[in-house]
């Protein structure tokens, strides 16, 4: 492969936005934290209401970035 072609291919993959990457990397921890929050919410009506009313705030309080997939996962667990 010519050096010019290598250069061209290197330009094809610019970095993804850093916050997107970080949120995706945190998925395993986020899933565990969601399970913990949901388990607590089952025993705590106030927490359950807070989670349902504003999941983003609840996730931030738990130290998690409320990326759309994390919020969606939390909502799905609360509804499930």
């Amino acid at each position: 492969m010519r050096a010019e072609r290598i250069a061209e291919l290197l330009t094809d993959l610019p970095p993804a936005p850093e916050p997107w990457v970080r949120a995706a990397q945190e998925l395993p921890r986020a899933r565990r934290e969601i399970e913990r929050l949901v388990a607590h919410a089952r025993a705590d009506a106030e927490l359950s209401a807070a989670l349902a009313a504003d999941p983003e705030v609840a996730l931030r309080r738990a130290g998690l970035e409320p990326a759309p997939c994390v919020v969606a996962a939390l909502r799905a667990r609360l509804e499930g």
């Binding site: 492969m1 010519r2 050096a3 290598i6 250069a7 291919l9 290197l10 330009t11 094809d12 993959l13 610019p14 970095p15 993804a16 936005p17 997107w20 990457v21 949120a23 995706a24 990397q25 998925l27 395993p28 921890r29 899933r31 990326a67 759309p68 997939c69 994390v70 969606a72 996962a73």
Partner: protein
């Protein structure tokens, strides 16, 4: 010294609950997924962000069921394409004229994704370069930084950067030639 893990090794570690392996898998493929969403399917930034997260959420959920770990890359490309098309179709419900555009983008996607796969192979060759070489190439070509910015960030005279780039490209070329003689594990970072 052991090189970076293959995709299959990383996936096995992810299945075993290794968060560091998951972080590396995301780092390795984030650019690829991002490029498919934004350059191939031209999703708007907000839609691309949601879809990017959806792709990795599905990967995380479906990794335990993946049958052939060595085929991770095509599986990921297919998953990303499917979710990109879903996102475009959802948007097209509000703009029916976009139907033809979606069809056109999906037909053109085959060639574009083949190009991105080659780009991943080239990026994988950067793993075998000294850090300063990989960094200068990434900054100049992928991050589109100027000589002045690169020089300031790496503490090297801006006037030497063009020759460094040229030498480093030559090293990548040699690595790729070596790999084409002996197939290496797939993956991109």
């Amino acid at each position: 010294m052991a090189g970076p893990p293959s995709d299959a090794e990383l996936i096995a570690r992810c299945r075993a609950g290794d968060d560091a392996a998951w972080a590396l898998l995301v780092e390795r493929f984030a650019r690829y997924v991002h490029a498919i969403l934004t350059r191939v399917y031209r999703l708007a930034p907000r839609v691309a962000e949601d879809t990017f997260h959806e792709v990795f959420a599905r990967v995380y959920e479906q990794l335990p069921k993946l049958r052939d770990d060595a085929a991770f890359r095509p599986w990921l490309a297919q998953l990303t394409r499917r979710l990109a098309i879903d996102a475009l179709r959802a948007a097209a419900r509000e703009r029916p004229d976009d139907g033809e555009l979606i069809e056109y983008l999906d037909i053109a996607a085959d060639d574009a994704i083949t190009e991105l796969e080659q780009a991943l192979t080239v990026r994988a060759a950067l793993w075998d370069l000294p850090d300063h070489c990989a960094d200068v190439l990434d900054r100049f070509f992928a991050r589109d930084e100027s000589y002045a910015t690169i020089g300031a960030a790496l503490g090297i005279p801006a006037g030497t950067i063009a020759s460094r780039i040229s030498r480093c490209l030559e090293r990548v070329r040699s690595i790729l030639e070596g790999r084409s003689a002996t197939p290496a594990p797939s993956g991109g970072r």
